[in-house]
């Protein structure tokens, strides 16, 4: 029986602070917190030269460290680990292109954009669109829509003010 490919994705700093979390399985809040805590501790305990994959509970964890952030994905046992590693890298590239030389601060201050980008890229735990160009184009369009939505509001406000 096929299960959901990616179960969740976590981003956390070297001090163990969770920056981003995207869950593709329905779990209660308590369970999520517990899993995040456990996993963060396990990964932070690993030494730099160690393998990028580890088995944890009955999932495979694929993680990579970029500067001060750990990107961590949980996938099913049979999944291809290397390709997941590349999914992580693709996501980082997308962030990089969008924010221009992304750093942790960018993600902290614009986390909703980070989530948008992730959602354009992955849907339901699967890679939706692997072309960087297309994903970024979609994000741009979404941004434009948002600005348009904001603009008329200010006009209305003016009217309202009178």
């Amino acid at each position: 029986m096929t299960k959901i490919k990616m179960q969740f994705m976590l981003l956390f700093s070297r001090q163990g602070k969770l920056r981003l979390q995207k869950w593709y399985v329905p779990l209660s809040d308590k369970e999520r917190k517990k899993i995040s805590r456990d996993l963060v501790q396990t990964i932070l305990a690993r030494k730099p030269k160690m393998c990028s994959f580890l088995e944890w509970r009955d999932l495979k964890i694929v993680y990579k460290r970029y500067a001060s952030l750990y990107f961590c994905c949980a996938v099913e046992d049979q999944d291809n680990e290397l390709i997941t590693l590349e999914i992580i890298h693709r996501y980082v590239e997308l962030l990089d292109k969008y924010f221009g030389s992304v750093c942790e601060l960018d993600i902290i201050f614009n986390f909703e954009k980070a989530y948008f980008i992730l959602d354009e890229f992955l849907l339901g735990g699967e890679a939706q669109e692997t072309s960087k160009k297309n994903v970024l184009k979609a994000i741009e369009q979404a941004d434009l829509l948002q600005e348009e939505a904001e603009a008329p509001r200010s006009v209305l406000e003016e009217i309202g003010l009178t």
């Binding site: 029986m1 096929t2 299960k3 959901i4 490919k5 593709y24 329905p26 030494k47 030269k49 160690m50 393998c51 990028s52 994959f53 580890l54 088995e55 509970r57 009955d58 046992d77 291809n80 680990e81 290397l82 390709i83 590693l85 590349e86 999914i87 890298h89 693709r90 959602d119 849907l123 339901g124 699967e126 890679a127 939706q128 669109e129 692997t130 072309s131 960087k132 160009k133 297309n134 979609a138």
Partner: protein, 815 residues
């Protein structure tokens, strides 16, 4: 539109599926949908499908969806392929057409120049994600039969393998990762097909190269892939050539997960030729291994040692070494097994005794060693008693020196060994009796030890040598049976019990409103959904019985009467007194005769339908039954009271502490006297248990209560005046003659209690009709209690004499 689809996909609940299942496929295949919307639609559909597969009916859309594979837009293909993979794994036949499309797509990608795919080229690797997904899709199917398609595919795979040999086009790790991702996926496909020897060998060689790669990731993955490769006959030999590298990896890798993979691979590649070497290596690894993996390693070593032992003295050595190195992690099954083997094989007994003796002489001896030693010396100490260094007294002293360091079960075992010594070596009798007599034994706080000490002491003093010899005769060889170690290893290696059930429960949606189990719901959600006929109580005919029942693993033995989960099997019972198909099947052995107490148990259930049918230390069986006219259904709940699993000769297992439910559908064809027999066979800890019980199905269960006025009653009573139609019994009351209790019992019998019929208000009058397939038998009943004499007179009249007699007998027992 996309956002909406996104939302649906992320929530993906059943209601959403119901609402949108029709819409989304339409959006997906419509010509005018935007590409990005198509992508989202595909994945959204996937999500809904996974959540509620029955609601998403693919029928009409199948060919269109498959056709998406040929779409221009790569993004759409990427998304669609995930959908198709999932659907294919569920309904492979329907989606067969996708195989050829997939192959052609794949070959186009693989052979494309790097400029073709433009944005979909990732660090000089063309469309890596898409390639991986295509390869994954192909793994759902066996190798294509069509020659052309197959040829193309093989070509593809070879190209991929070739590319791996080429120098990398970029120094970046991403390039190699992407390239290797495709490579590993291709290798999995090759392993899955298992039919192209040269591809397999090439794959194996490629992996062999990776074993020594600089990058840890690649080494890890190579070890893992090789594990699966080792099981294929074509490549097994090729895998074995790398044994030295693997052993080296085992010793020198810094990352524990890589070491673990190496150990797994050694286990997989083990066969007769290298067994000794591998076991030796694994033992030395065990000394420094991580605590978390020790138990698994121990089991593996034990299995390998047993499987490939040509010379059983080597096997004994290995196990004893195992105990010495990792004693704490040697589970019970392992040392039971070694003792079984030693007892079954005469040639190794002497050697075992000697080795154990020497091992015990070590100053720090693990308790498991003492257990094994105690047992073996007790049985076979005489084989080494000739040597003055291991004379009986020396043996005894050696064992006794460890006595006080051991836990209670070990001490109990040692006491048994002592009495065996008395039998084997009469010269030690006095010494041992002293020990047994000492206060620390016969006044020991532990009941078991005390009992053993006292009994053995008495036995040794009273019994003559012949009796002693008979009692303490050597243990007979154990019957050959499957190693419980393997079962234990499978259990350990299997996915973590809790989370798997969690997934299953969520996947199948709610089951029979079992949600009110609260916190246990997730864990208690069991696997198989009900076979359709069982919805309607009476809809079932004597359909072909499906033997075996699925365990609701993890659910607790707490409440016998709650529905532990959907039904799993049905067996039809023809009430002529024998079961037409025994639920645990196995026509091989005769069922044991019914237990003596089954008659009593039967009586218990004449007037009630629910309760505990049988209970002993291992097993509790509860029943819940309901009847309507001539049909009935009985739910049997088997609860495992121990912490060890039961295994049936036929699968499945009942986990320790778990409960299994079984449903029996009953049809009454004609009236009957004998109750059907229920024969239960299972294995507990290696011993075969055989229990026979009478199923509490009695003729009165098929009573239909009939109300009638006094006049009617007496009229019918007169009609049934022939002597054979009446059965009467006068008997002493065994229980109290409380009115309410009596009334309850009569109602429980299934008849209608008629008021104001009998002129004597003390008497009870009942009427009912027994429904059988052959006929209906009207039954009238009169119970006259005599409080002073504490006796009853029971009169039964019905149109069939056997019925009267039987009901009369049944009822007489109740009072």
């Amino acid at each position: 539109m996309c956002l909406a689809l996104h939302c649906i996909a992320n929530v993906g609940s059943r209601e959403m599926a119901e609402a949108f299942a029709g819409e989304i496929p339409r959006i997906l295949v419509a010509g005018d949908t935007m590409d990005s919307v198509k992508q989202s639609a595909a994945l959204c559909l996937l999500r809904l499908y996974k959540a509620s597969p029955d609601l998403v009916l693919m029928g009409e859309w199948t060919s269109r969806v498959v056709h998406l594979l040929n779409d221009q837009h790569m993004g759409v293909v990427t998304a669609a392929i995930s959908l198709i993979t999932c659907l294919s794994s569920k309904n492979p036949d329907e989606f067969k057409t996708c195989v050829s499309l997939a192959v052609s797509r794949l070959s186009r990608i693989v052979s494309s120049a790097s400029t073709d795919l433009q944005d979909y080229t990732y660090y000089f690797v063309p469309a890596p994600w898409l390639s991986c997904k295509l390869l994954r899709l192909l793994q759902c199917y066996p190798p294509p039969e069509d020659g052309a398609v197959k040829g193309r595919l093989v070509e593809c795979l070879e190209t991929i393998l070739n590319k791996a040999q080429e120098p990398p086009k970029s120094k970046k790790v991403q390039h190699s990762n992407a390239k290797n991702a495709i490579l590993f996926e291709a290798i999995s496909l090759i392993i899955h097909y298992d039919s192209e020897p040269n591809l397999l060998v090439r794959a194996c060689n490629q992996l062999g190269q990776f074993l020594q790669h600089r990058e840890t990731n690649l080494r890890y993955l190579a070890l893992e892939s090789m594990c699966t490769l080792a099981s294929s006959e074509f490549s097994h030999e090729a895998v074995k050539t790398h044994i030295e590298t693997v052993i080296n990896a085992l010793k020198t890798e810094r990352d524990v997960s890589v070491r673990q993979r190496a150990a797994d691979l050694l286990y997989a590649m083990c066969d007769r030729s290298n067994a000794k070497q591998i076991v030796a290596e694994m033992l030395s690894y065990l000394e420094t291994a991580d605590y978390s993996i020790r138990e698994e390693m121990v089991l593996k070593v034990a299995i390998l040692a047993e499987k490939y032992a040509v010379d059983y003295s080597w096997y004994v050595d290995t196990i004893l070494n195992l105990i010495r190195i990792a004693g704490d992690y040697v589970s019970e099954e392992v040392w039971y097994r070694v003792i079984q083997i030693v007892i079954n094989r005469d040639d190794v007994q002497g050697y075992a005794a000697k080795t154990v003796f020497e091992a015990l002489q070590a100053p720090a001896c693990h308790e498991n060693m003492v257990k094994v030693g105690g047992y073996i010396l007790g049985e076979f100490g005489n084989l080494i008693a000739g040597d003055p260094r291991s004379s009986p007294l020396v043996q005894f002293n050696l064992l006794h020196s460890k006595f006080h360091l051991c836990s209670v079960p070990t001490r109990a075992l040692l006491l048994s060994a002592y009495i065996k010594f008395i039998n084997l070596f009469p010269e030690t009798k006095a010494t041992i009796q002293e020990v047994l007599r000492s206060d620390s034994q016969i006044r020991n706080s532990d009941v078991e030890l005390q009992q053993r000490a006292v009994e053995y002491l008495k036995l040794s003093s009273i019994a003559s040598t012949d009796v002693l010899a008979t009692v303490l005769e050597e243990m007979p060889p154990f019957p050959e049976r499957e190693s419980s170690i393997l079962a234990k290893l499978k259990k350990k290696k299997g996915p973590g019990a809790v989370s798997v059930e969690l997934e299953d429960g969520k996947e199948r949606g709610e089951l029979n409103g079992a949600g009110e189990r609260g916190a246990d719901a997730a864990i208690a959600a069991s696997n198989v959904s009900t076979p359709s006929p069982s919805a309607d109580l009476l809809g079932l005919r004597s359909a072909a019985p499906i033997s075996g029942s699925t365990p609701s693993a993890g659910s607790l033995l707490v409440d016998v009467f709650s529905e532990a989960g959907p039904t799993a099997s049905s067996a039809s019972v023809n009430d002529d007194g024998f079961l037409s198909s025994a639920p645990p099947s196995a026509a091989s052995e005769d069922p044991a005769p019914p237990l003596p107490e089954s008659e009593e148990l039967l009586n218990k259930f004449v007037c009630k339908n629910n309760g505990v049918l049988f209970e002993n230390q291992l097993l509790q069986i509860g029943i819940k039954s309901e009847y309507r006219q001539n049909l009935g259904r009985m739910y049997l709940f088997y609860g495992n009271k121990t912490s060890v699993q039961f295994t049936k000769p036929v699968e499945p297992l009942v986990e320790g502490g778990a409960q299994v439910q079984q449903v029996i559908n009953i049809e009454c064809l004609t009236d009957f006297v004998d109750a059907p027999l229920l024969n239960i066979k299972f294995r507990y800890g290696g011993a075969l248990q055989n229990i026979s019980l009478k199923l509490p199905v009695t003729i009165n269960k098929f009573f239909q209560p009939t109300e009638m006025a006094a006049a009617d009653f007496f009229q019918r009573w007169k009609q049934l005046s022939q002597p054979q139609q009446e059965a009467q019994k006068i008997f002493k009351a065994t229980h109290g003659m409380d009115t309410e209790v009596l009334k309850a019992k009569l109602l429980g019998l299934g008849t209608a209690l008629l008021e104001n019929v009998d002129p004597n208000p003390e008497n009870y009058v009942c009427a009912g009709v027994i429904q059988t397939k052959a006929q209906q038998v009207g039954c009238l009943l009169r119970l006259e209690p005599n409080a002073q004499a504490q006796m009853y007179r029971l009169t039964l009249r019905s149109s069939k004499d056997t019925v009267s007699q039987r009901v009369c007998d049944l009822l007489a027992e109740q009072f």
